[in-house]
Amino acid sequence: MDGKVIVITSGKGGVGKTTATACIGAALALENRQVAVVDMDIGLRNLDGGMGLENRIVFNVVDAAKGKCKIKQAAIKDRRIENLYLIPASQSDNKDALTPDIMVRLCKELRKEFDYVLLDCPAGIERGFENSVAPADEAVVVCTPEVSSVRDADRVIALLYARSITPRLIVNRIVPEMVENGDMLSHEDVVDVLSVELLGLVPLDNQVVISTNTGAPLVLQKDSEAGQSFRRIALRMEGQDIPIEIPQAQKSFWKKLGIIIGIGK
């Protein structure tokens, strides 16, 4: 097996990298792929909590990278989804515990055992970013429709191109009503500035908060719009030609009625 190493990054913090990693990892595993999600945020681990696996951590990515344990010992099998494994971050070390070379060596081993290795990159463009990008074959940049997030994503895209990695984009937390009212950047505005291939659009979804707190996989919830968006993103990453679905505003009963009788828009 010679799997792909994909870094999920953004530059700015709090845009949904960890959620995206957990969801895409779960969605790819549901497609019968062997998937490892690796928390690269050394010192501030939180991917384990989002997947509901925090009480099963014995070894972590630093231990695996430094040869203190085998990869199989550090990889925690997900309770609900077959083929999905988490390699958690160390909470007690800092980003300097790893180096790009060590990560390249670790990912070389991970490739042999998994179809996909998803690296959840920490915010920023310093050591944690370098460690996550060095072994990556592909990159997914997550950004929200906010000026600051787009600016940071742009910076990261330039850094990825400089390393000969062509990134793809996920625009997260779209609020269609705000876009319609002109209070939020549209996905076209974001793509216009960033000028990279769009992998998917994810609407703002309250289910994400519930899922992150409870550890229940979002992609298994049929009524979660975000979860379903991530499933479609995973299929696109698998090479399937699925059209991009643009999040639409939910029309209220009175608005729908207005449209029917021809007084609303």
Partner: protein, 239 residues
């Protein structure tokens, strides 16, 4: 290069084709010469970097020690590429200073010969300039693509953008206020022409060709097609 910093001091600097020609009186105290060189080179800013400097002291004879001292001084302080000494002959002919400072333009004998002599001093870049990227040009800068917010363009001359300008653009650095900044979609965070800075530039919602220039000490942004700023020039000029 077309930099000319005329001053009445005893250390004078002229821009010549491949660098700078510095005229100075070697009988002056070394401290004074260094002080004056610092002053004029400070005005050049990044243009001094890697430039070739020729010292004109009325001939090289008997000046070895002061030349050596000034060479070390200019290389260490301003990162010039080389410091040579001029022979005891008149300085080379200056490259014609162009733009609005070109003097009487209506009686130029043969413009085609001027173009033939003139090297193209434009740095042409194709592609999107992204946040965090900084492009510096000694003279003019042409960008065939968009310039995203968070990026920075610095040019000794004009900045021409065949796309949207969303970042910071500094034209005419350090002191050429005849420079312009032109873009299709003028939405800069900040612009600077020569020493004049304009912050909070009103964002243009139109996708038309607009340009910024200096007018009576202020930066103004105008529609390029309507204004046609160079349409009134009687002769095509080298900028």
């Amino acid at each position: 290069m077309d930099v000319q910093l005329s001053d009445k001091s005893q250390v004078r600097l002229k821009g010549v084709r491949d660098g700078f020609w510095v005229t100075l009186d070697p009988s002056l105290p070394a401290d004074y010469i260094q002080e004056e060189l610092t002053r004029v080179f400070n005005q050049l800013q990044h243009l001094a970097f890697n430039s070739h400097v020729t010292l004109d002291m009325g001939g090289p004879e008997g000046r070895e020690s002061i030349v050596e001292m000034l060479r070390a001084f200019l290389k260490s302080k301003f990162n010039v590429a080389s410091v040579a000494v001029a022979p005891a002959s008149p300085p080379p002919k200056e490259v014609p200073v162009n733009g609005e400072h070109g003097g009487d333009k209506s009686h130029k004998p043969d413009m085609s010969s001027v173009w033939m002599e003139h090297h193209s001093d434009a740095l042409v870049i194709a592609g999107r300039v992204r946040s965090g990227q900084k492009i510096t040009a000694q003279k003019h800068l042409v960008i065939l693509g968009d310039v995203n917010p968070g990026s920075e363009l610095i040019a000794g001359g004009d900045i021409l953008i065949m796309g949207t300008l969303g970042g910071i653009a500094l034209a005419g650095q350090p002191d050429n206020e005849a420079a312009i900044i032109l873009a299709i979609g003028f939405k800069p965070i900040q612009i600077q022409i020569g020493g004049i800075i304009a912050t909070e530039v009103p964002v243009s919602q139109r996708h038309t060709l607009e340009f910024a220039r200096v007018d009576h000490g202020d930066i103004v942004v105008e529609d390029y097609i309507k204004t046609n700023p160079f349409g009134r020039l009687t002769w095509p000029e080298v900028r």
